[in-house]
């Protein structure tokens, strides 16, 4: 039993390690000081209003929301199609598809970013809103794909066969049988894909031209040491708002709460 106590002590320490930085972010968002220092000398709320009225932050937020929305829709379509194909395939072909789908997040970010930058330079394509979306959609596909594949694995094939036996064609079976069963998995994947796109910075730097997404704005501000109180507020808000889709996605996946990344 002593070793069990030891393990729990280690677990408590590791969870403290995981959450102390998040608590620090929350506290600094309310700090009054223009330059962050510990201990926090005084608390203030006016930085929230200042940040909300900052045009640069607003434009970056709008761009991030737009990019994440379009990328998520593309990822939902591509990821669901690929997952439905894989559910019908032999195991060898399955492996190849799964492997290629996971590459954009399993390979180092600098490689994905640099490859896209080289590709756009190769064709002489100017970096724009659409190059950001193309990159984001590519690494978001696997998030939707993994969630839908996991769902289809637990969904008996006999249901689609029964639907066909009862006279429904493939499209009707999709609409009335397959889609309703996949819907919550697609939804969970979409929420997570949105969260991933909304937060991405490593690849985005290489696919964004003059535009700033919210993470690019944060990165620039931290690097230059400017507007740090606004950075505090923005990162706090992001932590708060990404926790919601993640916990919601976990609910949708149900089960033992596994989220496939």
């Amino acid at each position: 039993m002593r070793s069990e106590t030891l393990i729990w002590a280690a677990v408590a320490a590791i969870f403290a390690f995981l959450f102390i930085p998040i608590v620090v972010i929350v506290l600094y968002a309310f700090s009054a000081a223009p330059i962050p220092a510990w201990p926090i000398a005084g608390f203030a709320l006016h930085w929230f209003a200042d940040t909300w009225h900052d045009q640069a932050v607003r434009q970056a937020l709008v761009l991030s929301l737009e990019v994440a929305s379009v990328a998520t829709i593309a990822a939902m379509l591509l990821g669901t199609l690929a997952a439905m194909a894989v559910a019908r395939m032999q195991s060898a072909a399955k492996e190849v598809v799964s492997f290629i789908a996971v590459l954009p997040i399993a390979l180092p970010g600098i490689l994905t970013g640099m490859a896209l930058a080289a590709y756009f330079a190769f064709w002489g394509i100017n970096l724009s809103y659409w190059t950001i979306v193309a990159g984001h959609a590519t690494f978001c596909v696997v998030i939707v794909y993994n969630n839908v594949v996991a769902r289809l694995r637990r969904m008996p094939r006999s249901l689609t066969e029964a639907s066909a036996d009862l006279g429904a064609d493939a499209f009707r079976t999709f609409r009335l049988v397959q889609l309703p069963m996949m819907a919550s998995a697609i939804g969970a994947g979409a929420l997570l894909a949105f969260a991933l796109s909304f937060d991405e910075v490593i690849v985005t730097t290489f696919t964004a031209g003059a535009q700033n997404t919210l993470p690019l704005w944060i990165f620039g501000a931290i690097r230059l040491g400017q507007q740090l109180p606004e950075v505090n507020v923005v990162v706090f808000a992001i932590i708060l708002f990404t926790a919601i889709p993640v916990l919601l996605a976990q609910k949708l996946i149900g089960e033992s709460g596994k989220v496939a990344r």
């Binding site: 729990w8 677990v11 590791i14 390979l107 600098i110 490689l111 994905t112 931290i222 993640v246």
Partner: protein, 292 residues
Amino acid sequence: MSLNRTFSVLGWRRPGVANAALLGLPALWFAALYLAAIGALLITSFWTVDDLSGNLIPGFSFTNFQQLLSVPVYTHIALRTIGIAAAVTITDVILAWPVAYAMIRLAGPRLRAVMMAAVMVPLWSSYLARVYAWRLILAHNGLLNWALMEIGLPRAHIGYSNWAMWIVFSYLWLPFMILPVAASVERIPPSLLEASADLGERGFATFRRVMLPMALPGMVAGAIFTFSLTLGDYVTPMLVGGRGSDFIGNVVYSNVGVTNNIPFAAAYAVLPLGVMAVFLLIARKLGAFDAL
């Protein structure tokens, strides 16, 4: 309606046609964008840049690779990147085990769900927010030094150093290790652990000789992420690393953003591609892909 039926019958008779119809769009997307981009990376790494005009010169030249091999700083940077990625991976394996073990073997179903959520939230919370939090904690007048002074110890100077990068990367990617290790511990039948105990093995021996080898695919699956994510980063080195803590990514980043030498940047990015190719081949041999 009859057209739908024709397609349906065709898809039923010939599953290959239906698979191709479903897979066509995603396959096209990945081939035309992602795989083609990696191809473009390899091709442009042999190109050069006109010094005066800054225009790309297509061609086939080893200039970039020769420069990478002949200037020692690029070797140092590559070794630093790979070394820290390896150290982070080992650290995360060690930290993941107590959590994974407690979650699966010790905790009841409710506590397990809470622990799972407590791993998921940092996994998906903003990457930049978490790096920035550490920048604040490790800063000269940050939380760490304040805590050290409170207990009567001298200030530590680990902000803006390789130590800081090691801590922050280990922190960032820990959930990516916990999840696959926990999943592979979950797959070990309890009867095996009981059998080991019945045969006289004590707690730690059972862990070392039964659990550890059986959870290897999970650890390797986690390692793909911890290693690869560290290997491909440049933001964390810029924000918490000091002078002389450049990663491969930082050289690539500054060659694209500042110098605008895309071919040279592409050539250096080929290195992580090669490292990961070897890593993934080994991972496949160890059965990590089933645990992804």
